[in-house]
């Protein structure tokens, strides 16, 4: 129970999203690195990503249902950001690194965190 509580913390959600490893056969790194540079070119995935980060940071200042709702919206935007990122690339070349174990583990961690946040949201009564 304690583990779930820690896992569902907004900081853990932010951490798993930011360290998610992505990249092509030529270059890769944590997702936050790409968000940082891409937002300067106003790319859609970066805008969704930063909106998600801001909402999740805001969740730190709420408790209970407010926190759960903000985290849930944040996680939805994170998933949207990732999907836009993946499908905006030619032949999805920007997720080439997911063929390797460590990047795949970061993806699994993010998926786990997303599941925990959704669970927390439902437990709080949903919308």
């Amino acid at each position: 129970m304690m583990l779930l509580k820690i896992s569902g913390h907004p900081l853990m959600q932010l951490f798993s999203f930011c360290i998610l490893l992505v990249g092509s056969a030529y270059f890769g790194g944590p997702y936050i690195f790409f968000l940082y540079h891409a937002v300067q070119e106003l790319l859609a995935y970066a805008i969704f990503g930063w909106m998600a980060i801001v909402l999740t940071v805001c969740a730190l200042f709420f408790t209970g249902r407010g926190e759960a709702v903000l985290q849930f919206i944040g996680v939805v935007l994170m998933v949207v950001s990732l999907l836009v990122f993946i499908f905006s690339a030619e032949h999805m070349m920007n997720i080439y690194v997911w063929r390797q174990l460590i990047p795949l583990l970061t993806l699994a961690l993010f998926a786990f965190m997303a599941g925990i946040v959704v669970r927390k949201f439902i437990k709080m009564g949903g919308l």
């Binding site: 092509s24 056969a25 030529y26 890769g28 790194g29 540079h37 990122f85 690339a89 032949h91």
Partner: protein, 414 residues
């Protein structure tokens, strides 16, 4: 209720990302079954032109769809291939030769002409706009549609497509549509596009089947690739070395990085020998082995990969002596053992080392790689250098922001 929801969520996570590629027999037997069937259906010349060792299978069980894409020898799979629609056991329902010449870089849709050539020389021309057949004002789909050819009963008609497509290759959805357009009995349609927005026969949606997986860039044994060239002092043999560049952002050479594709672009080398024994061509490039580590800026284990069919926007070819070519082969192997470093030894450095070893000269302007260096060799710099040669009238240099595709590789030799 909650448990059911979590079970469903877990199931969705586990299975939603799975790309189904199942056949009822093993992949080797599947390809062998297709090969046997094609041996009986195709002319000896057409059959001999197919390179089954690089065939790529894909399928979606829920749609009972199995496709096998077989490249043609010495041609990039992105532009020349045979596509067969089969069942899970490799029995062929239909198949076509496809050759694509893109005339613009409009993204993710065909706009242009599609020509179907039967082996008896008859053809259908279809005008496509954004993936749909244009309905002409006269009511005819196309003037040439009136002259409907008879598709040869026992032969599979080859297809020549002159169309625009923005991808690095052609997607599964599109080459499925190529089959679908031709139809199992010759030709069909994928829908009409009415530019005026009315008065036509309406529109049928284009079928979306699948998407391309990220390209494979497995490490090759460079020594085995170079061995295919044999002796480099052969009488009468000619040798060329080409340095080619894929800039990060298509149609915009000013960009140093593509943040959507996570790509800084790519520079690679094409080695070519023409002798009485035949043509041998190898296309190789330098890559980080674990690209996700490159962000740290340090040295990363590297690999050399086969870049056959890779897109490029600029290239510069030089004819070299046998000795120069031998130097290039040695350099390709030696520098392939170096570590990759995004700032100090990247794909552009590797390609330039091989090119210089062969006797080539290219004055590449150095660009700062953001957050890593004040000045490095980059694909953008190589592009600018080649563009400079083009502007100075060098006939062996070509630079065009529109992408083209390099030729095939011979592969490894034991």
């Amino acid at each position: 209720m909650k448990n059911t929801f979590y079970a469903l969520l877990l199931g969705t996570l586990l299975f939603s990302c799975r790309k189904e590629n199942a056949t009822s027999i093993s992949p080797v037997n599947y390809i062998e079954a297709v090969r046997t069937a094609l041996h009986d259906s195709l002319s000896p010349g057409d059959f001999a032109s197919l390179d089954f060792s690089r065939a790529s299978a894909s399928g979606i069980d829920s749609l009972h769809l199995h496709l096998l894409r077989i490249p043609v020898f010495l041609k990039p799979i992105a532009t020349d291939f045979f596509v067969a629609k089969t069942d899970g056991d490799g029995h062929i329902f239909s198949g076509r030769f496809v050759s694509i010449a893109r005339d613009s870089s409009e993204k993710k849709s065909f706009s242009g002409m599609v020509l179907y050539h039967s082996m008896k020389g008859k053809q259908i021309a279809l005008r496509l706009m954004k993936g749909h057949i244009v309905k002409s004002p006269s009511g005819a789909v196309s003037s040439l549609m009136a002259d409907e050819p008879e598709i040869d009963g026992g032969e599979l008609p080859p297809v020549v497509v002159t169309a625009s497509y923005g991808g690095g290759g052609i997607s599964y959805a599109d080459w499925y549509n190529l089959l679908d357009m031709a139809g199992d009995d010759g030709y069909g349609y994928i829908g009409y596009y009415s530019p005026s927005g009315g008065g036509g026969n309406g529109s049928a949606p284009t079928m979306q089947v699948d998407f391309e997986a990220p390209e494979s860039k497995d490490a090759i044994d460079v020594a085995k690739y170079m061995k295919c060239f044999g002796a480099t002092q052969e009488a009468g043999a000619t040798y060329t070395v080409t340095i080619a560049v894929d800039i990060p952002v298509d149609n915009d050479p000013s960009k140093i990085f593509n943040w959507a594709d996570a790509s800084p672009g790519h520079t690679f080398i094409e080695l070519y020998k023409n002798s009485s024994a035949g043509l041998v061509q190898q296309v190789v490039g330098f890559y980080p082995n674990q690209p996700w580590k490159t962000v740290a800026g340090g040295n990363v284990n590297a690999k050399v990969a086969d870049d056959a069919g890779h897109e490029y926007q600029a290239k510069f070819t030089i004819s070299v002596s046998g000795a120069g070519f031998a130097n290039a082969l040695r350099a390709a192997q030696a520098y392939g053992n170096f570590d990759y470093n995004v700032a100090t030894f990247n794909c552009a450095d590797y390609a330039l080392k091989v090119f210089t070893a062969a006797g080539g000269q290219l004055n590449v302007p150095q660009f700062p790689v953001p957050e890593y260096s004040d000045g490095s060799n980059t694909p953008q710099g190589v592009y600018d250098a080649i563009q400079g040669l083009v502007l100075s009238g060098n006939k062996n240099a070509m630079a065009n922001a529109q992408k083209q595709w390099i030729g095939d590789s011979h592969g490894a030799c034991d």
